[in-house]
């Protein structure tokens, strides 16, 4: 099956001081089958947000893309403005971490939801209003008619994020990009917003790329999980195998740093050092300085992604799984 979205050795550099270039994504290879949900997990500086933004061509000015990002077989970096507009209008929609910054604060929620319906899809005002109400109902916003008349400042973060999701659904996209959509929310609100996203995805058969720093959250709502470290795809595997089937030492370390709190006797294990920003990564494996399994090779040679366990890992010395040969 042709993937709906495919990152092919994606590499992104940004202009640095005095004509230099900083590499913010070193290498990401990832394919999303139509209707699948993939969690892209990473800490700060891992390049996870930029990876998502590259899908819509929303990279910062001066960004240079090597490798390729293909949406439904078409190369996004090669798209001309009209094609890019078409992609953003109907192909892929994005939900951001901070909905407040992404909705015009001076206009009403109704304006925000209907604007694209009227000006892009050519609906009448009344039809657009009805559609907006239906969309708010769909994301379980109660009292939709009143909400449409309110301004963003009058809504809580959780409600506003649902408005954002409704706006994304209004475009009837095939791909939904969700960039840390619940990070700024309380945990109970997070669970509800994630449930709304999950429900909408199943109902509309959307493909989902879910960006998060939370492995457990990614595992809960995605089919596959991809772990990024310092702009490099470290590991990719089925989400349900995350807890037991990870072979990359970094994935293991992340899991050990956030053990299941309900398991009696669970111990939290920390690894030293700080997450390396992509632009500080040297020639070797970026995780090598923090890795207990690192050898001389790791420090000089960047590992290529290769099959490991049930997925792929970019590691010279993957952790052998219990019951399999070392």
């Amino acid at each position: 099956m042709i993937p709906l979205l495919e990152f092919d050795a994606l590499r992104v550099t940004l202009p640095g001081p005095r004509g230099t270039r900083r590499t913010v994504i070193h290498r990401v290879d990832l394919a999303l089958a139509p209707g699948s949900a993939v969690g892209l997990v990473g800490e700060s500086g891992s390049g996870k947000s930029l990876t998502a933004r590259s899908v819509l061509g929303l990279l910062p000015p001066g960004a240079r893309v090597d490798g390729d990002v293909r949406f439904d077989g078409a190369s996004v970096p090669a798209m001309r403005p009209p094609e890019l507009r078409a992609l953003r209008r109907g192909g892929a929609a994005m939900v951001f971490q901070d909905p407040r910054a992404h909705i015009n604060p001076l206009r009403t929620v109704g304006d925000f939801l209907t604007e694209a319906l009227v000006s892009v899809r050519g609906l009448t005002r009344a039809a657009a209003d009805a559609r907006a109400t239906a969309l708010l109902d769909e994301v379980h916003v109660a009292d939709a008619a009143r909400r449409l008349r309110q301004r963003p400042a009058e809504l809580s973060g959780g409600l506003l994020q649902r408005v954002m999701i409704a706006a994304a659904l209004a475009a009837e996209p095939r791909l939904l990009l969700a960039d840390e959509p619940t990070t700024a929310l309380d945990v109970t609100t997070q669970a509800e917003v994630m449930a709304v996203i999950d429900e909408a995805r199943r109902r509309h058969g959307l493909t989902l790329l879910f960006i998060t720093h939370d492995l457990a959250l990614a595992a809960a709502v995605c089919d596959r999980a991809a772990v990024l470290y310092a702009g490099t795809l470290a590991e990719e595997l089925p989400a349900h195998r995350l807890a037991t089937g990870a072979t990359h030492p970094y994935t293991r370390a992340l899991l050990a740093a956030r053990p299941d709190p309900t398991v009696p006797g669970a111990k939290l294990r920390a690894i030293e050092g700080r997450p390396l920003p992509a632009d500080e990564a040297g020639p070797g494996c970026p995780f090598a300085p923090r890795c207990a399994r690192a050898t001389g090779t790791c420090r000089t040679e960047r590992p290529e992604p290769r099959p490991s366990g049930d997925g792929r890992a970019a590691c010279h010395h993957p952790v052998p799984l219990e019951g399999s040969a070392p």
């Binding site: 819509l56 929303l58 507009r85 078409a86 953003r88 209008r89 109907g90 929609a93 994005m94 951001f96 901070d98 910054a101 992404h102 909705i103 015009n104 604060p105 001076l106 206009r107 604007e115 694209a116 000006s119 892009v120 301004r151 400042a153 706006a167 475009a171």
Partner: protein
């Protein structure tokens, strides 16, 4: 926009004006010597009979607050006393000159609002070389003081090119406007540059804001993005700075009227100050401060109406 907010602003305005009038009137008694000597003006040797007459006329022997109240109520009734230098009532002096000043300020305001915002919007939307050019030009223009612009304009347009008159007021509206063109340009120049810079930066900020990117990302047509999101959201800061600059013109008009020999209240203020003609200076200072405060309040109210998020009403940091 609630009635409560408007009421609060009105009360604030009233309090400011009251305090300002108290300061203006009280200043007279901060100066060394007998205030009556000052009121005679011109630094002439005081004549005891005249001094006594002034003491009586200005109630200078009453308690301070009584005197102040007398003065203030007089002002409110249009009785601002008598100019001893001009031997005329202050109200008449001001009344015969205020038309010129009002026309000059209106002319300059129009220039600022139209040209300044247009220039700034263009630079903000275009970016690149247009923005650099506008920024450099306005940056320089802002460093040119009003009186130097006046001198340069006179030299260039009146002396070298002979296109426009340098002095005088003219008769009839068209001729008056022709005579006021150079003064208005000189008065408007640095404020126009300032408004253009603020407009450019406000438009630029909105252009880069995430909600505008989202609107573009959703495929909203560009003209709608610019009208509904960029310009609409940038209008708050533009409006407030435009208002401040109009208020600033009120002060700048003194210098311009002096330079171009215009017979307005600005020139009257400067001449009266030089002659220490206190009655006129007090009246004009109060008039200026009132106009300044009115414009500022109007702008704040308008800004609040445009942007429901900013409760500017007395919102001090």
């Amino acid at each position: 926009m609630t009635a409560h907010y408007l009421l609060r602003r009105a009360l604030g305005l009233l309090a400011t004006l009251l305090a300002a009038s108290l300061a203006i009137y009280g200043g007279l008694f901060l100066a060394p010597g007998d205030p009556a000597t000052l009121l005679v003006g011109g630094g002439k040797p005081p004549n005891p009979a005249l001094l006594a007459e002034i003491h009586r006329q200005y109630h200078l022997d009453d308690p301070f607050l009584t005197r102040y109240w007398h003065w203030l109520t007089g002002m409110l009734h249009g009785d601002a006393g008598t100019s001893l230098a001009h031997h005329d009532s202050v109200a008449h002096l001001i009344g015969s000159r205020i038309g010129t000043t009002a026309l000059l300020i209106a002319y300059a305001s129009t220039l600022i609002l139209l040209v300044g915002t247009a220039l700034g919007t263009l630079a903000g939307l275009r970016g690149g070389r247009t923005a650099t050019a506008v920024t450099a030009a306005t940056g320089t223009l802002m460093a040119v003081p009003t009186f130097v612009s006046a001198v340069l304009l006179i030299w260039l347009f009146a002396v070298r090119l002979g296109w426009l008159p340098a002095y005088g007021t003219g008769d009839g509206l068209a001729d008056r406007l022709r005579h006021l063109t150079l003064p208005a340009l000189a008065l408007a120049a640095s404020w126009l540059a300032y408004v253009a810079q603020v407009t450019r930066s406000a438009v630029h900020t909105e252009q880069g804001s995430e909600h505008v990117q989202t609107a573009r990302g959703r495929g909203i047509p560009e003209r709608l993005v610019i009208r509904r999101h960029v310009l609409r959201n940038a209008s708050g800061p533009i409006l407030s700075v435009a208002g401040v600059s109009v208020a600033g013109l009120i002060a700048g008009s003194s210098v311009i009227e002096q330079t171009f020999g215009l017979n307005g209240v600005g020139a009257l203020l400067v001449q009266s100050a030089a002659r220490q003609d206190l009655a006129v200076v007090q009246a004009l200072a109060l008039l200026t401060v009132t106009a300044f405060a009115l414009v500022n309040t109007a702008v704040d109210v308008a800004t609040a109406a445009l942007d429901h998020r900013t409760p500017i009403g007395g919102a001090r940091p």
